[in-house]
Subunit: 333 residues, 2 copies
Amino acid sequence: MIETPYLLFLGDAPDQLAAKVAQGIKDWRPENAVGQYRMDGCKADLGLKDMDLVEAREAGAKTLVIGVANRGGVISQEWKKVLVMALEEGFDLASGLHNLLRDEPDLVAVAEATGRTLHDVRVPVVDYPIANGVRRKGKRCLAVGTDCSVGKMYTAMAMDAEMRARGMKSTFRATGQTGILITGDGVPLDAVVADFMAGSIEWLTPDNDADHWDLIEGQGSLFHVSFSGVTLALIHGGQPDALILCHEPTRSHMRGLPGYTLPSLDVLRDTALQMAHVANPDCKVVGVSVNTQHMPEDEAMAYLARVEADMGLPATDPFRFGSGKLVDALAAM
Amino acid sequence: MIETPYLLFLGDAPDQLAAKVAQGIKDWRPENAVGQYRMDGCKADLGLKDMDLVEAREAGAKTLVIGVANRGGVISQEWKKVLVMALEEGFDLASGLHNLLRDEPDLVAVAEATGRTLHDVRVPVVDYPIANGVRRKGKRCLAVGTDCSVGKMYTAMAMDAEMRARGMKSTFRATGQTGILITGDGVPLDAVVADFMAGSIEWLTPDNDADHWDLIEGQGSLFHVSFSGVTLALIHGGQPDALILCHEPTRSHMRGLPGYTLPSLDVLRDTALQMAHVANPDCKVVGVSVNTQHMPEDEAMAYLARVEADMGLPATDPFRFGSGKLVDALAAM
């Protein structure tokens, strides 16, 4: 568990996109984002107050989160200076970078000397159990996609926010690096050892109140040959009561797999539901989340209307038109 | 790659079953089994020549394989004495034990001093790639089960042996500890990190001659919630051209999962085939392998006849009645 709130480190981000982890934290957990720390030449700006380390400390920040991708997979000496100062100022550090903080001897030495913690959220720190398949109390919703990167995390985040606003009991359950940094905990599923994947998701979504919803962050796709095993472990470990189908209609092939076409929403519905019924015979597909970012608004609305008619399910783009319809569907269960 | 042939270490095995890894090596790769090493009180016997280390060395053995389960997950001091002597005598050591040889400082020290290698086959030693889904030359067959431990490895081993006897080109591809020790290499799939599961199987089954068959060792089951993700990674990484359905008809619930019933062979066929078609649209289900060990022979034969009639596929128990029918089905493709 990473201590909040955060000071968001944007470093020398070459553009806004490079700071998308920090952007996610600011969008979804603004209460965790005390301020931003930008170095000379930083081209990203979250619109938060620029703070130095002392100011952020005084404002209550506990952890400096690296909210920016580094160039070439190297933690530069310019970054190091700031990170070392942050440890000495009393901050923990949290990072989702591929190269780990714990593999940098200077950071490790300073962290030990100052008693601070280095959080590398790409690396599991829990010994997860093997899944036992026992049914758990409370309700769970999982987003499954026709492909990777079609908006599964965004969908769950948006539903969680809407449910909190309505006073429903819900928890976003992060299964990827960005989600873990946003919320402060979760399971880095893509880095879990094969035998323990489903068990890690059981661990992440334990017994809860009967009217509580876990909104589990989806990963991969049953139809993406590189990562489908991760997706099936989520479906069987998560025991979802409700599935949301996620889709990006303009994609010509599966992400990173030229020659592989996306399944239709019908095929995704039938396949995901069949697999979900193994762990939870009562699971239902309750809605469709469409990422319409590459469609003009009238085309997007027409597409959503067509999906609703064809599938007999509520369909929305939660980013563009809100997640209300999907939350209505959960509330009706 | 583990150097062959082996001296099979049976230690102080309390019974024959405890030595099942050694038994597997002797059954499937007798040419790798130069002799057996038994300590005082050993209750297992493979019917191989009992040898001490010097005799085994002179007979050509390169590696001492721990072919027996240890008690209580501890490598005892009695074992240690033999293992240290073996290293000093010039043997490498190979083990599929949960507790690793490399975690024993005395063995590590002696291995370094003598220049020998400690093989812990439970731990991946290769940096596997992420699967790219590119179609590969040559043919692949995968056994998929209604449950775990229904005879998938045995089926592939038996088919491989039959194919070699017929002069067909085939390679058994091990994906578990026992298979790796038997053949000397493979992928310990249950210990591979989630993102690289499918890629490890692509790596294991590379381009080959057009008439060559990889017989891939199956793992888990699409319907076993603890391990289903591993199975799907095998299906999508392996790109099988042929699937063999494996079943154990007397089981009342999924292994280790009370309350979970086994799927029917029809459901397994349809589900596995649909998932396999994502990676290889030409994949076919070609036969059924039934583990009839808990059925009298007449009942077993009647059951197989009924499966053949119902499924329209050749069905056999490869242990009891040979794997010829399944190999015929591959040869006909």
